[in-house]
């Protein structure tokens, strides 16, 4: 019962949204160059951001789950911070870091790697907000899987790197996949940090959520329709990944 109530709580608003969409205009809306550009950009940057989350987040989760060191709790909650930070503030923080006058931005600029107002900035913003999702869900799985199999592998002669690739990661694959999906979803929906840090230029930094927001001002119907596209993409990807995960494990 409460499970159904929970599901309804999520589904009914989506339904309400669907009911308001002018489906006859749907194709036209989707086909518009600005929508297509936004969708493509969103998919690309989210994919890259997810990859970045994996590269940065898997080691973080491993360290948090497997090592005991003083201040581990503080490090963990720091890793969670982008979750609480209002995205706009997150964007400002990124601006202060990677922006032209930011902590690292000056160095980057000197190196000839301008970040702001490029797609790289979008990826950075998305990675910043999506990283905690990967870290948290993977760390939880690592903890509950435990270290007994890793110990067995070590006594069979496997050095840590081999244990990681052949035992730990395959064992936590479901958690890794669901973490990646969460990150991807969060990156796909990212709005506040992107607009603050990366700006909004069609084809370069204007992702689908930004496009939706803009449209809402002048064409609310279009915004609703595009939201549903976002929803559909997200459903498609999560279902596909879940299938993959189920197949990988038994």
């Amino acid at each position: 019962m409460p499970a159904a109530a929970g599901a309804a709580f999520v589904v009914v608003p989506l339904l309400a949204l669907g009911l308001r969409v002018d489906w006859s205009r749907f194709g036209e809306l989707l086909g518009s160059p600005s929508s297509l550009a936004a969708l493509t950009l969103s998919l690309q940057t989210s994919a890259v951001a997810t990859l970045a989350c994996l590269v940065l987040g898997v080691p973080m989760a491993l360290v948090l789950a497997r090592r005991r060191f003083p201040g581990r709790q503080v490090v963990r909650s720091l890793a969670l911070l982008p979750l609480v930070l209002p995205p706009v503030v997150g964007g400002i923080a990124l601006l202060y870091t990677f922006g032209r006058r930011g902590l690292l931005g000056q160095t980057l600029d000197v190196l000839g790697v301008p970040v702001a107002f490029t797609s790289v900035a979008v990826v950075l913003a998305q990675t910043f907000v999506a990283l905690p999702f990967l870290v948290v869900s993977l760390e939880g799985t690592l903890r509950s899987v435990g270290q007994r199999y890793e110990a067995v592998a070590a006594t069979l002669g496997a050095p840590p790197s081999t244990v990681l690739c052949r035992v730990t990661l395959p064992l936590v694959l479901p958690g890794l996949l669901s973490g990646a999906v969460l990150s991807f979803a969060r990156a796909l929906g990212e709005f506040g940090a992107t607009i603050t840090f990366a700006g909004s230029l069609q084809g370069v930094t204007r992702t689908l959520p930004l496009e939706i927001y803009l449209r809402q001002v002048d064409d609310p119907d279009a915004a609703m329709a595009l939201s549903l596209v976002l929803v559909a993409v997200a459903i498609g990807i999560t279902v596909a990944t879940a299938r993959l995960g189920e197949r990988a494990h038994r």
Binding site: T155, G157, L173
Partner: protein
């Protein structure tokens, strides 16, 4: 020696000091909770002692104490541990579980699989090669885990009750396999079974409350147990010599017939030993004519109560002291006393002959 280990682990009341020679096979016996698994864990590197030092083949495994913090990680020790819980990797097939160590060791995939198949064949579960661990029965899983540990071909092999979950019909086969593969390989095997200790080890370590209560050559120790735990189980009669026809001929000429039972095939002239429990020995005042093949004239040296029974020790004039457990009624009826000459009779069917 090959392996030397001294270690303490206060949380488990564990404190041992142990040496094992090159190629020696050690059986570890002891009550539940006496620290057998802890010892294996410390050696394998899955458990870190509070202090101590161990070395294997000259390499230091760990050296912990005030100012010393050397700790060789498990994968660099060349020590494989088959734990009480099989812990097969759930994401790999049976074959890939066994091929794990060869693969890690650098063998090409096909090679590793071929080796894994050989080991699965050895423990007679090759038909299960394609299964996932959750599709195995308890005993099957234990056998696969054994194959996996063997496939690692480690410098030191640690086996924690490898036969516990294995059925009676399979046990002899596994014992044979272990005997063959452990030959000349430094091994430590935890067991609750005397026969395993006898067949699979050169040396016995008996643990009691985290300490080594007794340690020595297996036969010797089983024959003259000092620790309380061993004494309750053992006191076996053992005669060493060479294989000859249906029995063993001792260096001094004494001959004992028996059956080889589970043990691997032996040829005449091979070094062998015969073992039989004191309860199997009958005492006659004069040699009877009957089916029992082994008649040993002895002089009684000792008559002592032993539980419900009485243990009678006799000297066979070749320097062997042989024990017989008989009922108090027999002792009274036959009037057994130290100094009396009698015949100890043992059925060949109850004597186990094994390679020495």
């Amino acid at each position: 020696m090959t392996l030397a280990c001294a270690a303490t682990l206060a949380a488990r009341g564990f404190d041992i000091d142990l040496e094992v020679g090159e190629g020696e096979r050690v059986a570890v016996l002891g009550q539940n909770g006496s620290g057998k698994s802890t010892l294996l864990g410390v050696l394998a590197g899955t458990l870190r002692p509070d202090a101590g030092r161990a070395s294997l083949d000259g390499r230091v495994l760990f050296d912990l104490g005030p100012g010393r913090r050397l700790w060789l990680p498990p994968h660099r020790r060349g020590i494989a541990l088959l734990a009480q819980d099989p812990l097969l990797f759930p994401h790999l097939t049976v074959l890939d579980n066994v091929a794990f160590a060869p693969r890690v060791g650098g063998a090409p995939r096909a090679d590793a699989r071929a080796r894994a198949e050989r080991w699965l064949e050895e423990v007679e579960v090759l038909p299960l090669a394609g299964r996932r661990p959750h599709e195995l029965s308890g005993g099957e899983a234990q056998r696969v885990a054994l194959a996996r540990a063997l496939a690692a071909e480690p410098a030191l092999l640690l086996l924690d009750e490898p036969m516990a979950a294995v059925d009676v019909a399979v046990a002899p086969m596994l014992r044979r396999v272990l005997r063959r593969v452990l030959a000349g390989r430094t091994t430590m095997i935890v067991t609750h079974d005397l026969l395993d200790a006898l067949l699979l080890s050169d040396r016995l370590v008996v643990m009691e409350e985290g300490r080594v209560a007794e340690s020595g050559p297996t036969e010797e120790t089983l024959r003259h147990p000092r620790a309380g735990f061993t004494a309750r189980l053992a006191g076996l009669n053992l005669i060493r010599g060479t294989r000859d026809g249906g029995g063993v001929v001792g260096r001094d000429g004494v001959r004992i017939d028996g059956t080889t039972g589970d043990a691997p095939a032996l040829r005449d002239g091979d070094p062998a030993a015969a073992a039989f429990a004191p309860a199997e020995v009958s005492i006659y005042l004069s040699p009877p004519t009957g089916s029992p093949r082994n008649h040993l004239p002895v002089t009684i040296t000792e008559v002592e109560p032993h539980g419900e029974l009485v243990r009678v020790r006799g000297d066979d004039h070749h320097g062997h002291s042989i024990a017989a457990d008989v009922t108090p009624v027999s002792v009274a009826e036959l009037d057994l006393y130290p100094g009396r000459d009698v015949t100890f009779v043992v059925k060949a069917a109850t004597v186990t002959i094994y390679p020495a």
